[in-house]
Amino acid sequence: MNSLAQPMKWEKYFWPIFAALLFLGLWHFSVKWSATKVFPSPLDVERGTAELVSKGLLARYVSDSLQRVAWGYLTAAGLGIPLGLLLGWYPEAAAVVNPTIQMLRPISPIAWIPVSIVWFGVGNLAAIYLIFLASFFPIVVASMNAVRNVPSMYRRAGRNFGLSPAKLIAKVVFPASLPQIIVGLRIALGIAWLVVVAAEMTAIDSGLGYLIIDSRNSGKRYDLVVAAMILIGLTGLALDTIFRRVEKLKSVRWGFRHEF
């Protein structure tokens, strides 16, 4: 098959599944041949997952983690997008605030854990705050740059049709920067999902991060540890897939390089 040929329909599904099965097989036989007592085989993990399901823990932990992400992430988007739009629109304001943002941005959300516990105590709020921090800066910076990159042609056209500054932002600047904002939102969601696990490892007693740390601490249940890892991966994949759908909406698709 040369690279120009259209792949057959079954090939689109067959090869990814084949690769996943190959990976599982390698994993299985590595565990068997090394005769490890600690690391679980895929079948152990499958049994562990079934155990979580039967105890009703799996759905609860996944939903707990997702809810924390939703709160922190949506708050970050709700504050970050308007702030980013304003900073992009008023370069003078951006020049004042930007150095502070750029200084805070590289601080890992993990480094904020002690501070968040001092401020919000051990519990949900601390975790939500960490997720908020982790997604806020990427969203602000992406929105700000998105506005800056709006071609002046679009702004001039908007002004030419007599739009007030507020309408110009709502009807021209925002839709023109939306594709880039969506890229920022997608990156931020990925980071939020990374951070929720870390947050749950320290301050909370539910969620997938908690499942990992708890399974290790109480009885070295590595089958559950790996089960939680796989759940984290699958949920992250699902979140990203949703975003890819959003990018295909026709009113934003022009901003992405999709092949026709």
Partner: protein, 272 residues
């Protein structure tokens, strides 16, 4: 230079009779100069430009690439204010863009996040819904985009996008159109068709048109008057009246005479 202050006289054909009529002044630029400051260097782009355009007149600004003719158009449209001089349109001095005068951009300025309908209706949000729908339908038909109402610009060809932008401009019923090399990015066949379409629309709606181009043939095919501009800093080198009726025979003697006259004025021998 004195030619620049004389308003053009356009022959109008009505029922086969050729009537010469002096035009009312629509736009008057007085001593417009533009100096840009880049890295502490001062670049003079426009040098003391005075120009008058009559009501309903089609004027081409012709000059080499980068000469400043687009800058002049942006000044006239109110997007940038001149360093010296002023522009008056219909007696009022220009202080910013205005929906009565729509700018059509060099590259495709249609909004990619809106459909064809959405783009044409963009400037019509203040109208009642029925009137808006009616106008959108009217201009979709006029520019030949019937059947593409719900299409997004990325689904259209270059020529269709350019027609869409013209329709968006016409929909708000402006008195003037500023066109900045609108057909520059199109292939030569589409460009010829688009020129015909623009003339057809102009004859139907009688807008005052200021059209920037670096294409001598294009200027002679379209304009009532061609304003020839020098290389930077742009000065008006001369104004040529194109006294041929539309549709113009582009192999007629007069056409070639006028075209070659402009070639000479620019200082090009008409040979490759």
């Amino acid at each position: 230079m004195e030619a620049t202050t004389v308003v053009g006289v356009r022959p109008i054909v009505s029922h086969g009779l050729k009537v010469e009529r002096a035009l009312r002044v629509k736009l008057r630029a007085e001593g417009v100069s533009m100096i840009f400051t880049r890295d502490s260097d001062q670049v003079r782009v426009l040098d003391n430009i005075s120009l008058e355009v009559g009501e309903g007149e089609f004027v081409c600004l012709l000059g080499p690439s980068g000469c400043g003719k687009s800058t002049l158009l942006n000044v006239v449209a109110g997007f940038i204010s001149p360093t010296q001089g002023q522009v008056r349109i219909g007696g009022e001095s220009v202080h910013g863009p205005d929906p009565r005068r729509i700018f059509v951009f060099q590259e495709r300025g249609v909004f990619p996040w809106l459909t064809v309908e959405g783009n044409i209706g963009f400037g019509l949000s203040k109208l009642p819904k029925a009137e808006r729908t009616h106008r959108i339908a009217h201009y979709i038909t006029m520019v030949g985009l019937l059947g593409f109402e719900k299409a997004y610009p990325q689904e259209l060809s270059g020529g269709m996008k350019q027609r869409l932008e013209v329709a968006r401009a016409l929909a708000v019923n402006p008195d003037m159109l500023f066109l900045d090399e609108p057909f520059g990015a199109l292939d030569s066949i589409t460009r010829l068709i688009m020129r015909g379409e623009l003339l057809r629309i102009w004859e139907a709606e009688r807008k005052t048109i200021l059209f920037v181009t670096h294409d001598i043939e294009e200027a002679v095919q379209l304009a009532d008057r061609v304003v020839v501009m020098s290389a930077r800093p742009a000065r008006i080198q001369g104004v040529v009246n194109i006294d041929i009726d539309h549709p113009r025979d582009i192999s007629s003697r007069r056409y070639l005479e006028l075209r070659d006259g402009i070639f000479e004025q620019i200082g090009l021998a008409h040979k490759v």
